[in-house]
């Protein structure tokens, strides 16, 4: 299945958001997620199924003013 991760098309073998994060190398990171513009809390990643073409945003702390 292809999803759009942080603006780039990626092929993933699994559909659950928590497993997708693991597959793509985000294991152990401090990140927040959104799917198709909606925030998905950490506690709900395991029950969030992704579909073909879904837009996933994975964001982390960054310098800011």
């Amino acid at each position: 299945m292809r999803i759009v991760l942080n603006g780039k098309s990626r092929e993933v073998a699994v559909a659950r958001l928590d497993r997708v994060l693991e597959e793509l190398g985000f294991h152990g990171t401090k990140v927040a997620t959104a799917v198709n513009g909606q925030f998905v809390a950490r506690s709900r990643r395991g029950e969030t199924a992704l579909g073909e073409g879904d837009r996933v945003e994975v964001i982390a702390p960054m310098q800011g003013g």
């Binding site: 942080n6 603006g7 793509l24 190398g25 985000f26 990171t29 401090k30 990140v31 927040a32 997620t33 959104a34 513009g37 909606q38 925030f39 809390a41 950490r42 945003e57 994975v58 964001i59 982390a60 702390p61 960054m62 310098q63 800011g64 003013g65």
Partner: protein
């Protein structure tokens, strides 16, 4: 002076964490200035580079309270979603709410700001809205549940100082119970001192320190200016007058003419 959603701050200077020559200089600037609150943001993370994880480790090491922003958001939806993500990542109800309305000046969209503030307050956030000195917008933000307001001094990154001193003084006078912070546009420590002398409860800045030739020394200068301005306000300054008034007593002066 007022608190920040129940948090009393000893140092009323808040610093942004962007644009420093290096993470080490950021850390030293924050330490030397004795800053207690820094602003942070959120951006896309790369699983390979993990830049965000390194930055987070640095902030944790500094042991500071963080104020996440929604910088770069131009719509209510973007700002609300960013705030929700920030609350989870940084584990704080604080959010510096920015809804930008105009590209050249980065002026806040006050209509979107009020709408986003209402949504976030209802969700339990403690909102620090980046606003202008507009009294009506301020009233709406307070009605929405904001207990802190952060009017700009001048456009972000401009270094122009307090563009509308009358407006900022007026805001202070109209909202005596609200915590007020001048956020953005300051270039010199004297601007920060002036904001505090107007009765503001703090100043927030980034570029003026980060882009100075010596950010560490400039951070210290701003910290001292903020404290000087705070003390001056507390000491009840004299009223200015148009005519001279001799400070040395005339009585008893020798006749030498």
């Amino acid at each position: 002076m007022h608190d920040f959603y129940g948090v009393a701050l000893g140092n009323r200077l808040m610093l942004g964490t962007a644009l420093y020559p290096s993470p080490a200089i950021l850390a030293e600037a924050v330490r030397v200035a004795g800053v207690e609150v820094v602003t942070v943001s959120l951006r896309r993370e790369s699983a390979e580079r993990r830049d965000g994880q390194a930055f987070w480790a640095l902030i944790r090491e500094l042991g500071l309270r963080v104020l996440p922003n929604t910088a770069g958001c131009h719509t209510v939806k973007e700002a609300v979603t960013t705030a929700q993500m920030a609350r989870e990542v940084f584990d704080t109800p604080w959010v510096k709410l920015e809804v930008i309305g105009e590209h050249d000046s980065l002026q806040p969209d006050l209509f979107g700001l009020v709408e986003a503030a209402r949504i976030l307050v209802a969700e339990g956030f403690e909102v620090f809205p980046y606003t202008t000195e507009d009294l009506v917008a301020a009233e709406r933000l307070v009605e929405a549940g904001c207990r802190v307001l952060m009017p700009w001094g001048a456009p972000i990154g401009s270094g122009l100082g307090l563009n509308n001193r009358y407006g900022l003084r007026s805001l202070r006078a109209h909202f005596p119970e609200v915590t007020l912070v001048v956020d953005a546009g300051l270039g010199l420590p004297s601007h920060a001192a002036a904001a505090m002398e107007l009765g503001y409860d703090g100043v927030l800045l980034n570029t003026a320190v980060a882009k100075a030739g010596d950010p560490v020394t400039m951070a210290k200068a701003f910290s001292q200016a903020v404290e000087a301005g705070r003390l001056a306000r507390a000491a009840d300054p004299m009223e200015p007058r148009d005519m001279a008034a001799p400070s040395t007593p005339v009585l008893g002066k020798a006749f030498l003419g």
